[in-house]
């Protein structure tokens, strides 16, 4: 029973990280109908920036803030330089460009930062918390992870709902042509969407790296789990992304705990295929007819 509780709690922690990755994918998908395969690569790169800053300044929080800022800059820069020119081309071109971006970032990280595994510091103690004498399987750092993702998500949700910029973004995602006719500069809004996605991705990268180590491919697995979470949630829904992330995190934690950690990605693949076969629009989508 204690074991079950521990697996559940640590599943929630990892689930929040998958949720963050899923959220960044959903942000870009809603705006540009493009799945950003470079999201994990971007997060990996900004985490390297963070570790360099932490190494030079000795301050975790300096690295944390710089990573988030780098995420914003990288997201916007990618959109402006290579993604925007693909927008009037067939969708396959955009997909291949984001894959190219992923490989480019991984190669550059290997060149600039070296290919070896590096450990990443945690902001708080990673020693497990106990309730009385029972170990809960989570640490103070894990609590920080959950809180950081939750706060970011809530701030975004409020901003989308109550600010003018948020209204513009929702309008552009809802119908770009009408948004443009209403005087919204849709192209700029899309750049902002990529910048925000870069920010959330960078957050996920910094938060997950103490438990995975950092190397050029370190975010590959996190990315596919985030993608699976986004698909479970329906790719279109920010709430779905968070719920999908939590569900997947808890499920994979049970698999890893009871069956062995080598099988988690195989089970995640199974989950993905089953969800896509049964409910291609995600668990939360209403049944929709595909119009021609």
């Amino acid at each position: 029973m204690v074991e079950f509780l521990q697996f559940t709690l640590s599943g929630i922690v990892f689930g929040m990280i998958y949720a963050a990755v899923a959220l960044s994918l959903v942000l870009i998908w809603r705006g540009t109908r493009l799945l950003n395969y470079a999201q994990g690569g971007m997060a990996m790169f900004t985490t390297y920036v963070a570790i360099e800053v932490i190494y030079r300044t000795g301050s975790y929080w300096a690295g944390f803030v710089v990573a988030l800022a780098a995420g914003i800059v990288l997201g916007a820069a990618c959109q402006l330089t290579v993604i925007r020119p693909t927008m009037n081309k067939p969708p396959l071109n955009g997909v291949i460009v984001t894959i190219g971006l992923l490989v480019l970032l991984e190669g550059l990280a290997g060149i600039f930062f070296g290919g070896q595994y590096r450990s990443f510091p945690a902001a708080f103690s990673i020693i497990g918390i106990k309730a009385g004498t029972t170990p809960l399987g989570v640490s103070r750092y894990d609590v920080f992870v959950v809180a950081a993702v939750l706060v970011t998500t809530l701030v975004l949700a409020v901003a989308f709902k109550y600010t003018t910029a948020g209204l513009r973004m929702r309008a552009a995602a809802f119908n770009a042509t009408i948004a443009r006719l209403s005087g919204i500069r849709v192209a700029r809004v899309l750049t902002v969407g990529w910048a925000l996605a870069g920010l959330i991705g960078a957050l996920a990268g910094v938060l997950v790296s103490p438990s995975t180590f950092l190397y050029p491919n370190s975010m590959d697995t996190i990315f596919v789990f985030g993608f699976t979470a986004a698909v479970i949630g329906g790719l279109d829904s920010p709430v779905g992304a968070v719920v999908g992330g939590l569900l997947l995190g808890i499920a994979l934690s049970y698999v890893g705990g009871y069956l062995g950690s080598d099988l988690t990605s195989v089970v995640a693949l199974g989950v993905l295929v089953v969800v896509l076969m049964i409910r291609p629009g995600g668990l939360f989508s209403a049944t929709r007819v595909r119009r021609v």
């Binding site: 109908r33 799945l35 290579v82 925007r84 020119p85 693909t86 927008m87 009037n88 081309k89 067939p90 969708p91 396959l92 071109n93 997909v95 291949i96 460009v97 894959i99 190219g100 971006l101 992923l102 490989v103 480019l104 991984e106 190669g107 550059l108 290997g110 060149i111 070296g114 070896q116 809802f174 119908n175 770009a176 042509t177 443009r180 849709v186 192209a187 491919n217 697995t221 596919v224 993608f227 699976t228 698909v231 790719l235 279109d236 062995g260 080598d262 099988l263 988690t264 990605s265 195989v266 995640a268 693949l269 993905l272 295929v273 896509l276 291609p280 929709r288 595909r290 119009r291 021609v292």
Partner: protein, 359 residues
């Protein structure tokens, strides 16, 4: 290459050139010939899938792993003749491709690429999970020798180059036939507009699944060849980077073009070796040297897609028309093939994308 005799003729000429080169060149070059043949076999399947049927796969490295492990296990435990092993490796991968293809046929665009990416990440971990069968991190050794009739002194690498090149050429001829047959036309129809294709009586799902199975089979054959060429099958060889290298080769060569698959494979095998050599000889560390090609793959994927989506073969074709003038057989592929995205939610987006460039 419009007719079967002409295709066979080209294949024979290439085979003669390969045999000549393999005898003239040293062992290392023989090994590279084998490597290129392995790459061509896999890339040819992928370029059919992406270029003709409009589906994208980041999991063909995983299908190569299935072919390679099948080969290693069969040679290890049953010591079958290689030709039988090759056929069975192809069949097993085809079956795996069919299972995944049935799921994939319902997916479009981003979902399919994501699901295949997941396959590429998940499959190698099975080798770790069942160490007693697949040998875990160490992998499995593959015993492959030259046949007796060639004599004891015949170099193994030359024989490996011959076998690989032969399989690659047969694959290319078969794929070329497929591409110009009814099946190939159906794939193009599905790629350009799946609704119109369905109205014309094309079974869209069957066409998509078949394309996926064909590309998986090619990857499986390539994996079997890779197993005998490197003599070792280990999970580290079948990472996502392998799948992306295959895609890069297909894109560089020109999506949908079989000659392009050959050009792309030449680039992807020869250039990284050369770059790493130059980098290490200039005193750069090995991690820099080995990562320059990776960064270059990425840069090339982006540049080709933005600037020159037809790839090398498209460029060659354009050069040819400069000299000869547009022939009657000139095909008009002005843009890279596109999988149609017409779900209801996309309708609003579609009009916006078309105008995005001008705003």
């Amino acid at each position: 290459m419009q007719s079967l005799p002409r295709r066979l003729g080209v294949a024979v000429v290439v085979a003669v050139i390969v045999v000549f080169l393999s005898i003239k060149l040293n062992t290392f070059r023989d090994y590279q010939i084998a490597e290129i043949a392995v790459e061509v076999t896999a890339v040819a399947g992928l370029t059919m899938l992406t270029g003709l049927s409009g589906q994208i796969s980041l999991g063909n490295g995983a299908f190569m792993a299935i072919g390679a492990y099948t080969t290693a296990l069969l040679l290890l435990h049953l010591s079958w003749p290689f030709i039988a092993v090759l056929v069975l490796a192809g069949a097993v991968t085809a079956a795996a491709g069919a299972i995944f293809g049935v799921a994939a046929a319902r997916l479009r665009g981003p979902y399919l690429a994501g699901a295949t990416l997941m396959l590429g990440v998940a499959l190698p971990s099975i080798a770790y999970a069942y160490q007693s069968i697949f040998g875990g991190d160490q992998g499995l050794n593959v015993a492959f020798t030259t046949p007796g009739f060639l004599g004891a002194n015949f170099p193994l690498t030359r024989w490996q180059a011959w076998v690989s090149a032969l399989v690659a050429l047969i694959t290319l001829v078969l794929l070329a036939n497929l591409s110009y047959s009814r099946i190939g036309r159906n794939w193009r129809a599905v790629r350009d507009d799946d609704v119109a294709a369905a109205l014309d009586g094309v079974n869209v799902a069957a066409a998509r699944i078949l394309a996926f199975v064909v590309s998986a089979t090619c990857a499986g054959l390539a994996g079997a060849l890779l197993a005998i060429v490197t003599g070792l099958v280990a999970p580290g060889a079948f990472t996502i980077t392998l799948s992306i290298a295959l895609l890069t080769a297909a894109v560089i060569g020109g999506l949908g073009s079989l000659p392009g698959a050959v050009w792309g494979s030449l680039v992807i095998v020869l250039v990284p070796t050369y770059v790493t050599d130059v980098a290490t000889s200039h005193g750069l560390s090995s991690s820099v040297g080995s990562n320059i090609p990776v960064a270059a793959y990425g840069a090339v994927l982006i540049l080709v897609m933005l600037v020159f989506p037809q790839g090398i073969q498209g460029g060659l074709r354009r050069l040819l028309t400069l000299f000869t003038g547009p022939g009657p057989k000139t095909r008009t592929w002005h843009t890279a093939p596109t999988p149609p995205e017409t779900s209801s939610a996309d309708q609003a987006q579609a009009s916006h994308h078309e105008k995005e460039g001008t705003s």
